[in-house]
């Protein structure tokens, strides 16, 4: 054995020992051992870091989940809207817990005051910000409840799921929506609601939030809910609530029977992704046309982004 080898061994050995001693004390002092489950949970999360769950990022969601599981609180109130049930199930598996099935939700725009239905009475000239315009005036169409069409919701969406339709001047939600609720918060007029996605993506809702009486409401917008209660009367499941001259369909109760849609005199109730039905009576032709146009738009949107395409899309984005 030569000197160099000897010295090398000695020096490194010494250094190693010293380091080990130091680290031992570090270890003594820092007893915070991170639960390896956190990593596991984080691994199954989508890592969009969107904050949709209410925590700053996916990792903190993971931490909270683990903690919650440790405290036997069963992931109560914790939900990753992006990953949805699948992910929550995986999380629950990792933590050895049950998770309730939650029906998937989607954002719904409850206003149909398009340029055609609610013609502009004034011209807005200012920054494209709904919140600002909301403070400034009632809206171009004159309805003080309706969509301002300046796209705060579009900006707020991190998932490219909501877009302005330049023709109608209204936002439209596509299948990329993961119901994070950002747009709901962003809209100063509380137009957007998260509703059940529904079987086969079918949904029925009142596309109006105008609380005025019938006359004034109709004056600004041809498809406003006038609070006539016809739908409420016809609904076999008591799913429709009338309040403030406005009908609201409770999506927990609604069974998608479409009866209300037929009776609405102003076409304020929307159905999405239903097959076209036979033409109505001749007298209703104009209304029917309008309705169909709306439906077609909705249909093409969801067709274009069928689930399979959608999947690959998101993958590329990630």
């Amino acid at each position: 054995m030569n000197d160099i080898l000897l010295f090398t061994v000695l020096t490194l050995g010494l250094l190693g020992t010293v380091l080990a001693v130091i680290l031992y004390f570090v270890a003594q002092k820092f007893k915070v051992i991170e639960d390896p489950k956190i990593d596991l949970v984080e691994d199954v999360l989508p890592k969009a870091n969107c904050g949709g769950c209410g925590f700053p990022g996916c990792r903190s969601f993971a931490e909270v989940s683990v903690k919650s599981a440790d405290e036997k609180r069963n992931l109560e109130g914790l939900n990753c809207p992006v990953g949805g049930n699948d992910v929550m199930k995986q999380v629950a598996d990792i933590l050895g817990l049950e998770v309730e099935e939650q029906e998937p939700l989607i954002a719904v725009i409850r206003c149909n005051g398009s340029h055609a239905n609610a013609p502009s009475k004034v011209l807005y000239d200012g920054p494209a910000s709904c919140s600002f315009a909301h403070n400034l005036f009632a809206g171009e169409g004159g309805c003080q409840f309706g969509c301002l069409g300046l796209g705060d919701c579009v900006v707020s969406c991190d998932f490219d799921a909501i877009h302005m339709n330049p023709e109608t001047g209204l936002p439209e939600v596509n299948d990329k929506c993961i119901a994070c609720g950002a747009c709901v918060k962003a809209c100063p007029r509380a137009i957007i609601e998260l509703r059940h996605k529904g079987k086969k993506d079918r949904r029925i809702f009142v596309s109006c939030v105008n609380k005025e009486k019938g006359g004034p409401a109709k004056k600004n917008c041809s498809v406003a809910c006038i609070g006539c209660s016809k739908c409420q009367q016809v609904c076999p499941f008591d799913a429709i609530i009338m309040a403030n001259n406005l009908a609201y369909i409770d999506f927990e109760k609604c069974k998608l029977c479409r009866k209300c849609v037929e009776v609405c005199p102003t076409d304020a109730i929307h159905e999405i992704n239903f097959p076209l039905r036979k033409a109505k009576a001749e007298t209703d032709q104009t209304a029917e046309k309008k309705e169909r146009a709306v439906k077609e738009v909705a249909a093409t949107v969801s067709d274009a982004i069928s689930p399979s395409v959608n999947e690959s899309d998101t993958e590329n984005k990630a």
């Binding site: 190693g16 080990a20 680290l23 031992y24 590329n316 984005k317």
Partner: protein, 190 residues
């Protein structure tokens, strides 16, 4: 296979993860230097990944990182000694950045994130993929800088005379890397 390919573009250590920026900027005055540095790092990555995944079960958690450092530093020293003996010219060019492989986050990062959890074989492949991704980025950056700076790639003159000296100097390094990253980002998003 995926372990191998992801390092090349999707998880390219430099262009996407932004790790090991110093050697990236420091040695890429020419394509050849970039390649040399890249390969040296690849070697360290493969070997340390391999060894670490072999011994991972014997190492108590608390001395994990120091043990990794010792292992990595040993391989770096080996590279240093070998290069000094057999590739003295390149060693001189790369200078300080060879010992600095030790602190290159990729090496330690991969050891920690991958090798300490996976089998020796897949760890080695991961090391290879990451290393080659690193080498690729370095070579490309080196080639770009060499070409823009002196009109040559791998010392083969493509354009007579010098082009824009800035690219061989410090500012050019930052700027070229910035745009290279922007381009990668765009490619990855497609």
């Amino acid at each position: 296979m995926q372990n191998f390919t992801k390092g090349l573009l999707k998880e390219n250590p430099i262009l996407v993860l932004v790790l090991g920026t110093c050697p990236t900027l420091g040695v890429t005055t020419s394509a050849f230097n970039g390649l040399g540095m890249g390969l040296a790092t690849t070697f360290v990555l493969i070997m340390s990944n391999l060894v670490i995944s072999l011994v991972k079960d014997f190492i108590p958690d608390k001395v994990r990182i120091p043990s990794f450092i010792v292992i990595i530093a040993s391989f770096v020293t080996v590279v240093e000694l070998v290069m000094q003996g057999f590739l003295p010219a390149l060693f001189e060019q790369l200078g300080l950045f060879i010992p600095l492989i030790v602190v290159n986050c990729i090496v330690l990062g991969r050891a920690e994130a991958f090798a300490s959890k996976n089998t020796p074989l897949s760890s080695a492949i991961d090391g290879l993929g990451m290393g080659l991704g690193f080498a690729l980025a370095l070579t490309v950056l080196g080639a770009i800088r060499e070409f823009l700076g002196s009109g040559a790639i791998f010392s083969i003159k493509l354009i007579p005379g010098d082009l824009m000296l800035v690219f061989i100097l410090a500012p050019g390094a930052f700027i070229a890397l910035g745009y290279l990253m922007a381009i990668t980002k765009r490619l990855n998003n497609k």
